[in-house]
């Protein structure tokens, strides 16, 4: 709070205005009574309530980590084999004779879909952010923003349904392949899902560049696009990187859409027409069948731990970039 003006503390106030308790004979006693009234206690009570609310986010983050660790730990300390987990592509958790838990194909599945999503989404999102932020004005701008928001509110299960029932036949027809549920399908869908968050954050980052920068460039005779490419984009670089990182985080953690649109086949992809299976989708598809406490159940929580740690790192980095960008 620093040197800001502070609100009155009810106790201090009453203490500073001493009560005079008069006797009949005129001798006045100054009583420095502790007059902590109802308002003081109310104030303190609410301060405590709000503080509890304030730290709840920390409690939940720790809670999430603790509980997924708690369920996954038995497996990690028991039959977990790091080399197999990260290097083998044999994910056969329900095999009776020899269950194996190799997540390589799942990791590559997630990576390929997220990668393609970014290839699709980054140019379009940044382009749209530049257009909305720097070129569009007035009503056009407001309308475009609302329409981009429209993309953001389509629920992931509806996206998955679109992948299954619209994109699937379309891809089969256009590219003449046998199955349309593949990296391409999920990549396009995830790209569209990640686009709104990237557009919004990138536009915010460009809006934060002070107008004096633009005016200075304009005074030097720079044209609109020169201002954008030589001044605005370099100045908002950190914010743009953060936007891309948050988009990656969004695509990476998406569950229902990839479950429905990737084809859900364990496979190391060699082309964009291969079906794959994602980390998130594996948990969603198998958690219902895995007996509680079994290795399979623990392995799914281990996948959850991997997801949690990776998204945590992505968000942390994005936050550092956002903080680093505010140097004007």
């Amino acid at each position: 709070m620093g040197d800001r003006l502070e609100p009155a503390n009810a106790a201090e106030q009453t203490a500073r205005t001493p009560m005079s308790v008069g006797d009949m004979d005129g001798t006045k006693q100054i009583v420095d009574a502790d007059q902590r009234g109802f308002d003081w206690f109310l104030d303190k009570a609410f301060q405590v309530i709000f503080f509890i609310g304030g730290i709840s986010a920390i409690v939940f983050i720790f809670g999430i980590f603790t509980f997924i660790m708690r369920e996954g730990l038995d497996f990690i300390l028991g039959n977990f084999n790091a080399a197999e987990f990260f290097l083998s592509q044999r994910w056969m958790p329900t095999s009776r004779s020899n269950p194996t838990f190799g997540a390589l194909a799942l990791i590559l599945g997630t990576a390929s879909v997220t990668g393609l999503a970014m290839v699709v989404s980054v140019p379009f999102s940044l382009g749209a952010a530049i257009y909305i932020g720097e070129f569009a004005t007035g009503k056009t701008r407001e309308t475009l923003k609302v329409l981009v928001e429209l993309l953001a509110v389509i629920p992931s299960v509806v996206w998955g349904f679109i992948g299954l029932s619209i994109m699937n036949p379309l891809i089969i027809q256009v590219f003449d392949v046998s199955i349309g549920l593949n990296v391409l399908n999920a990549g396009i869908i995830l790209g569209l899902m990640a686009a709104p968050i990237m557009t919004t954050i990138a536009e915010d980052a460009m809006k934060a560049v002070p107008d004096t920068y633009r005016e200075a460039a304009e005074a030097m005779g720079a044209t609109r696009w020169q201002i954008i490419f030589k001044v605005v984009l370099p100045a908002s670089k950190n914010g743009l990187i953060a936007a891309i990182l948050l988009g990656i985080g969004r695509a990476f953690g998406e569950t229902m859409a990839v479950l429905m649109a990737t084809g859900h086949a364990i496979n190391i992809p060699t082309s964009i027409f291969d079906s794959v299976r994602a980390l998130t989708a594996t948990i969603a598809a198998e958690l219902g069948e895995a007996p509680v406490g079994s290795d399979h159940y623990g392995a799914l929580f281990a996948l959850g731990i991997v997801l949690f740690i990776i998204t945590f790192l992505i968000n942390l980095t994005a936050d550092l970039f956002i903080r680093g960008s505010r140097d004007y």
């Binding site: 620093g2 502070e6 609100p7 503390n9 109310l42 104030d43 609410f46 301060q47 709000f50 609310g53 304030g54 730290i55 709840s56 986010a57 939940f60 983050i61 809670g63 999430i64 509980f67 997924i68 708690r70 369920e71 379009f124 999102s125 382009g127 749209a128 257009y131 909305i132 070129f135 475009l144 981009v148 928001e149 429209l150 993309l151 509110v153 389509i154 629920p155 992931s156 299960v157 509806v158 998955g160 349904f161 679109i162 299954l164 029932s165 569209l192 044209t223 609109r224 696009w225 953690g253 998406e254 569950t255 229902m256 998130t280 969603a284 958690l287 929580f301 998204t311 945590f312 968000n315």
Partner: protein, 289 residues
């Protein structure tokens, strides 16, 4: 007057080209959203009828209505809002009105950012581990709603914080100068002046919560359960999960049925969003400072 030089003309041309290209790129983002909406309406609207909206699914979920799923979604959203709103608003009040600039506040902000980024399926794992088994709520509306509430907490905090900080600081200072305590200032000055903004954020939260599928799949939503839930300890159907079920789990579903479910879900979400945007515009017009 100035004469346009060759250089001027060339740069004008480049600028026009870039502008055209960027507007095309923007269009490419918007066209899919509108196409999806159009296809859902075109293929889904023949399904919509009173029997569809208010009937039970019949014939192994290949016919009939979606009422149990619709009601279940309302239950889930309502219970999760009951938890997320008070918690989120108090967190935002703490951050806006109390929090000093120290490591704890920094940690809180980091936690909020990370909570918003945790994948929905990890929230589901947490819900299973914590609410279903550890706290023994079983697979129930309560467990599912609590999972949803934690997921939506960062959204409530961020939107509320924004509206609280839009109240000018001078308002608070004037109130403090009158000898009011912090709580009195919050109750009499800060909250009344930010209610509409907070409300807008909450309306916007409803569609997001209603659309979630992964977090409720294993914590309280059932694929087929043609009864209405009686208490928060019951399981329930949900619209989002119902769309997943009829699309992927049930054979021989008539083609139009999932479109109908998707349309109802999307329409619910669009109506809430339109409401929120309209409300925001209305409030902006009335703003006094």
């Amino acid at each position: 007057m100035f004469e346009a030089t060759d250089l001027n003309l060339r740069q004008k041309k480049i600028e026009w080209l870039i502008k055209a290209l960027l507007s095309l790129v923007t269009l490419f983002l918007i066209v899919p959203a509108l196409t999806i909406l159009a296809v859902l309406i075109y293929r889904g609207s023949p399904m919509i009828s009173v029997e569809f909206l208010f009937g039970d699914p019949t014939n192994g979920m290949t016919a009939g209505g979606i009422f149990p799923a619709l009601a279940g979604t309302i239950w889930l959203v309502a219970v999760s809002l009951l938890v997320a709103i008070p918690l989120g608003i108090s967190a935002a009040i703490y951050l806006s009105e109390y929090a000093p600039q120290n490591w704890l506040t920094r940690m809180i902000n980091l936690a909020i950012i990370n909570l918003a980024g945790v994948p929905s399926i990890v929230h589901a794992l947490f819900g299973v581990g914590a609410f279903v088994y550890f706290f023994r709520f079983g697979t129930s509306i309560l467990a599912a709603s609590l999972t949803l509430a934690i997921m939506s907490l960062p959204i409530v905090i961020v939107s509320t914080l924004e509206s609280l900080q839009a109240v000018p600081r001078a308002f608070r200072e004037a109130c403090w100068n009158m000898g009011a305590t912090r709580w009195q200032t919050i109750r009499l000055v800060v909250l009344p002046n930010s209610t509409s903004g907070i409300l807008t954020g909450i309306i916007l939260l409803v569609p997001r919560t209603a659309g979630e599928t992964a977090p409720i799949m294993f914590t309280g939503a059932a694929m087929f359960l043609p009864f209405l839930p009686q208490s928060v300890f019951d399981q329930t159907m949900a619209l989002s999960l119902h769309l997943y079920t009829v699309t992927t789990q049930i054979p021989d579903v008539p083609e139009a049925l999932p479109y109908g479910v998707a349309l109802v879900l999307f329409a619910l979400i669009l109506v809430m969003n339109a409401l929120s945007i309209g409300f925001r515009t209305y409030v902006r017009g009335k703003k006094k400072w």
